[in-house]
Amino acid sequence: MLDRINKAQRDIDAACEILGRQINIMEVCGTHTVSIFRNGIRSILPSNLKLLSGPGCPVCVTGQGYIDAVLQLADRDDCLIATYGDMIRVPGKDGSLEIKQAKANIKIVLSSEDALQLAKDNPDKTVVFVAVGFETTAPATSVVVKEAAAGSVENFCILSGHKLVVPAMRALLSEKNHNINAFLCPGHVSAIIGYGAFAEIVEDFSRPCVVAGFEPVQIIEGLCEICRQLSAGKAELKSMYFAVVTEKGNIAAQQIIDECFEPVDGYWRGLGEIQKSTLKLKDKYAQFDAFRRFSISEEPSEEIKGCRCGEVLCGLIEPPECGLFGRDCTPQEPVGPCMVSSEGACAAWFKYGREKRRKL
């Protein structure tokens, strides 16, 4: 394995020397972010190659309005909130789920199935599943919605905050002052949607898109492929995650998402509203849609004061450039979601960065 790493590293060095200028590669997957930091990958890259941690963490990209909607439901005595653990500490307008957890109507679940089970076990409450995540978690949510419909589990519903990766990539590249030269594409998401889904990015924006796995050697080889393309003046679509990702992806998973959801315009933290980027339950499943059941909506809400998560997510600044980083905002007392989630860029910088406040 070290041989492969060394070779890729030499090729990266050579390509970056030819390029001469600053190169920015964005990863849009939380697991990539964590693996990059944990393995110290940035520390072995040439100085003109920079990695940006983009909107790859489902917790981080979720809009403030969505969080406030969850908190609003958590205040109701007739609801049980079923959520993935990472979500409970995200700060909202007034407090976080964790603070409200004292009320005991907030349950951490490991899967959507657990949430449905919770509904079956508590027939006198309405269980609201906080359904966040990209194309990777959407199929599992679809499965339980269908199960709930088939088994008439009427006290179950979901608050869909599911997001789609490709529209976000388009939005990033459509910003005037973006600085992204290429994307390291997410492994799990690609397994579902297929690497073919990134073809439009390559065609419309001529940016290399390379899918890679999560092992350090896979990430480094992915970066190497990107550098090779850039130094040759090319932009191509390529998957290096052969064992798992195919061009068309997992058709069955795509179908079940299609059956339950339709893409609508939705809010992303930092990126604002993005066309057809968020999954909404189709009308035939309206009764399982918490937004409709409780007549609430995701209001575009004010971002947290002083928190620069939005700019972090767009790759415009690195976390230590945020004035709150490491002093007022730490994993124990997070101000913004990027410090809450274990896959958030700020949390990763804090945990693995060499100096808490500045350099890596």
Binding site: G40, G85, I108
Partner: protein, 321 residues
Amino acid sequence: MDDLIRQHILPSLKNDALDELGDSARLNVASNSLCFTTDSYVVKPLFFNGGDIGKLAVCGTVNDLAVAGSKPVALALSLIIEDGFEIELLDKILANIGETARQSNVDIVTGDTKTVESGAADRIFINTAGIGVRLAGVDLGFDKIAVGDKIMINGTIGDHGMTIISQREELKFQSQLKSDCASLTGLICELLENTSGIKFMRDPTRGGLAATLNEIARSTALSVEIRETDIPVRPAVQAAADMLGFDVLTIANEGKFVAVVSPESTDDCLKICRNHPLGKEAKIIGEVVETRDVPLVEIETRIGGKRIVQMPYGRELPRIC
């Protein structure tokens, strides 16, 4: 209560001082330089692969005494038992306490038992306190640590913590994991009595290796560099940690010590360790280095990159994907 003591506790723990059932135990200790420590045990589950709360309660306290450079001589044992706790389980726990104390060459000389109403405790809580006699000529402390000293560990990390966590989470491969819970007094005394280069020792329990190394860096103002490839980790432990999103460096151990050793005596120390059942996989995993800006623990990763190892913080939450 008297029945409980006479029929269940005394038979398991049998020794002269305890059998007197006095208000205090009288000890004859031929030294005026002692170590004294206490700890409480509330582990869940009570029984786990490789040990139980009783074994843990003895090992934890004798290990604390040993890493301070002392030989344990006496323990106190207090049990807080929730009403309704099964007597067979209590017997099992007591038997393990007795067995582990014997193995550690230490008597339980005094104790206390309280039963509390149901709901006031979670089945059983144990507190142990221990006295140790400091080994002659042994003086360990942060102030002895110098640049160039080596960091040694007596075996694999993360076994205890991952066993407990995966048993709690009911992971499929929990049967492949086994706590390293063990009394280290024998090995540590042998090391301290036969070598002279050990500067400091600590058992990396809560917070794991990461916490212990960070304490060293903080207290000495020096930095520590370790190498990922040199740190022994069992594959099943690594797999469980990866799956649940934990960093093994932060996971608790109950049968491990970290020793800071002068470079000249590393060979002797390793030799003694490797001849002992609890030190077969002993390794030098890194060294103490000058501090560049702030005292830090840094790790060289498998791929030759570098990153810091933070003092563990917060509670790790299940990940979304």
